[in-house]
């Protein structure tokens, strides 16, 4: 039971992060290392808004998501778009961006650990297991957002454009889609989702300027495991890795610190059998 709950929560978080990361990769072929840094910025935004200015947490969350989205769009426009043709340069640019965020947060908030208070405090007991309300709330919100995202992608014109560009950029371009503008919009959606994840997760975690590193690795593992650009794949893989982590903690309590390593090993094993990930389509040899 414990395993299921912990796995569900971790999995949902990873799913949100991974899907948003996957989106921008699919549409614009941008490996955005700074993705989780946006998540960190959102968490710190909430910390300062609710802690220093005493705003309502819900309002704080909304402002945080908006702020992060604006940051993301600015970063895309001025730092990534001009060098999009050079894949390696984009990659480094996003790493540098993440470092800048990290250092800026460090300067403003120092390296001390911070926390954000929960929206609803307390817990209830399901089948002998104590569960935070905040966890349930987070889980519910994540599901709603995922559903919205699914709706956006599957039922709207924008979603169609995003999906088709992800499928084949050149043909989508030929069909008259504004590739650059679409990339911009996707970046916005993607970063907003990262910010949102940070916002809902903030009360459950400890804030530090280095908090973007760990989820970054797990997020990438999820994306690779599920298949790059495949949203369904990211969704499934997120839960697989989430449950794996939970299992490790319960089965070998002395090895709880190994959970990351075990999850990554599973990823590599799966990749050995299916090099394109669980649900990825093997790309045609790009020439």
């Amino acid at each position: 039971m414990n395993i299921i709950i912990t796995g569900l929560i971790t999995g949902s978080m990873l799913a949100l992060l991974a899907i948003s990361f996957s989106l921008i990769f699919g549409v614009a072929r941008i490996v955005n290392i700074a993705h989780t840094a946006f998540y960190m910025v959102a968490a710190y935004c909430i910390f300062s808004l609710t802690g220093k200015f005493g705003l309502n947490p819900v309002v704080g969350m909304m402002i945080a998501v908006v702020v992060v989205t604006v940051f993301g769009l600015l970063a895309y426009k001025f730092l990534i778009d001009p060098i999009r043709e050079h894949e390696a340069a984009v990659l480094i640019a996003t790493i540098a961006l993440a470092m800048i965020f990290q250092e800026a947060v460090m300067l403003i908030f120092t390296g001390d650990y911070r926390t954000v208070s929960a929206l609803i405090e307390g817990y209830f007991i399901v089948m002998g297991v104590k569960v935070f309300f905040q966890q349930v709330l987070t889980f519910g919100v994540v599901l709603v957002v995922l559903a919205l995202l699914w709706f956006l992608l599957m039922k709207t014109k924008l979603g169609l454009a995003i999906r088709s560009t992800a499928e084949d950029r050149e043909v989508a371009n030929l069909m008259g889609m504004n590739d650059s503008r679409l990339a911009m919009i996707t970046m916005g959606v993607s970063v907003a989702l990262a910010g949102f994840t940070g916002a809902v997760l903030a009360p459950l975690t400890v804030l530090s300027p280095y908090m973007w590193m760990e989820p970054l690795i797990m997020m990438m593992a999820v994306v690779v495991l599920g298949g790059l650009g495949s949203i369904k794949g990211s969704f499934v893989a997120a839960y697989i890795l989430g449950f794996t982590e939970a299992l490790v903690v319960f089965v070998i309590p002395k090895g709880a610190f190994l959970k990351g390593s075990v999850a990554l090993t599973i990823m590599i094993l799966v990749l050995l059998l299916r090099p394109e990930g669980l649900f990825g389509v093997s790309f045609e040899e790009e020439r």
Partner: protein, 346 residues
């Protein structure tokens, strides 16, 4: 006397004809001279320490370039080779008392082995898949290091390694000398037949396959070669710091290597080396402003890439040299005609 004079004259002609004609070659020659002559001017231990560490990381960055820059096999876990080299040398030196001249090559051999182990499964992966998968390996190894504290020392690492030499100057020449030699070797490799195949794999693997070349073998070879040089860097680092710890395996280490290489310009070897020689001392230089050190570093990298997405060195090189449109020979930017075929340069 006469013979010596003749040799000198010949030497002068060679220098004039081969080195002085191109500013890039002059710079490389100056670079060698300055590095080798440095202790004659100043024996400041701090300066020497910075140069030695820079040299070690230059080898590392160049070895990344050899694999990822040339064959296009994006490796985001280069710290793996570095860490394996460092740990292997440290264990051999501390537990088995093998002196540095034995432990460093053996550590490099261990890194080559790791290159094989990692390379074989990874060859099935492409592009971003490969990049993200390789990133996982050092983290897994870190888990193992922490799980076996009796052998690896856990988070404390293995300390108390022997120094290569107790003399500051000898140490300096050993490290700088090894760096210069290894980087020249790497550059020669990329300039050889093998290097051309590496390059071709990056540009169009299918075409290389179609020409009857076993690309898998070459990719594996790139993994091993790169692992070898990175392993040496790791071993040297462990012996210099006298400790091999988990920090050699951290994600930030892998990232830093990529930053250096891309900043300097990939697929050049000299680019990453030069980048390390700029960025690492820069990081030391801004110590007078400690709070903003990393911020300055990141901003510099970002700005340079924004204006020179190909990397700094290729950009500089294109400014000071022109390629002859007819015979593809490089010329000083100030020349009007090609120095070989006299074609007009535009």
């Amino acid at each position: 006397m006469v013979a010596a004079g003749l040799y000198l004259k010949r030497f002068y002609t060679v220098v004039r004809g081969e080195v002085l004609v191109l500013p890039s070659r002059v710079i490389v020659a100056l670079f060698f001279l300055v590095l080798l002559g440095m202790p004659l001017i100043s024996q400041n231990p701090y300066l020497i320490r910075v140069i030695v560490l820079t040299s070690i990381f230059a080898i590392l960055a160049a070895s990344w370039d050899l694999l990822s820059g040339f064959t296009g096999q994006m490796n985001f876990g280069h710290a793996l080779f570095f860490g394996v080299g460092a740990y292997a040398s440290a264990m051999l030196n501390v537990h088995l008392h093998i002196p540095p001249w034995g432990s460093v090559p053996l550590g490099a051999a261990a890194a080559v082995l790791t290159g094989l182990i990692v390379g074989i499964p990874c060859l099935r992966l492409k592009h971003t898949y490969l990049a993200l998968t390789t990133m996982a390996f050092p983290i897994i190894l870190m888990g193992i290091v922490f799980a076996l504290p009796d052998i690896t020392g856990g988070e404390l690492g293995i300390s108390g390694l022997q120094r290569i030499s107790n003399s500051l100057i000898v140490n300096y020449y050993v490290y700088v000398g090894i760096m210069l030699v290894l980087c020249t070797i790497m550059w020669k490799i990329t300039d050889s037949h093998t290097g051309i195949i590496f390059h071709a794999i990056r540009e169009d693997e299918l075409a290389v396959k179609a020409s009857g070349i076993n690309t898998t073998r070459y990719k594996l070879m790139a993994f091993c070669l790169s692992g070898f040089f990175a392993g040496i860097a790791g071993g040297l680092y462990a012996h210099y710091m006298r400790i091999a710890g988990p920090s050699t395996l951290e994600v930030s280490m892998s990232f830093t290597v990529v930053i250096w290489a891309v900043f300097g310009g990939i697929a050049t070897i000299y680019g990453p080396v030069a980048a390390v020689f700029i960025l690492f001392p820069l990081l030391e230089f801004v110590r007078f402003w400690p709070e903003y050190r990393m911020l300055i570093f990141a901003v510099v990298v970002l700005l340079i890439l924004l204006y020179m997405p190909e990397g700094l060195i290729p950009w500089v090189r294109d400014k000071i040299e022109k390629e002859c449109p007819r015979c593809k020979i490089r010329n000083v930017a100030t020349r009007k005609t090609c120095r070989i075929c006299t074609a007009v340069l535009d």
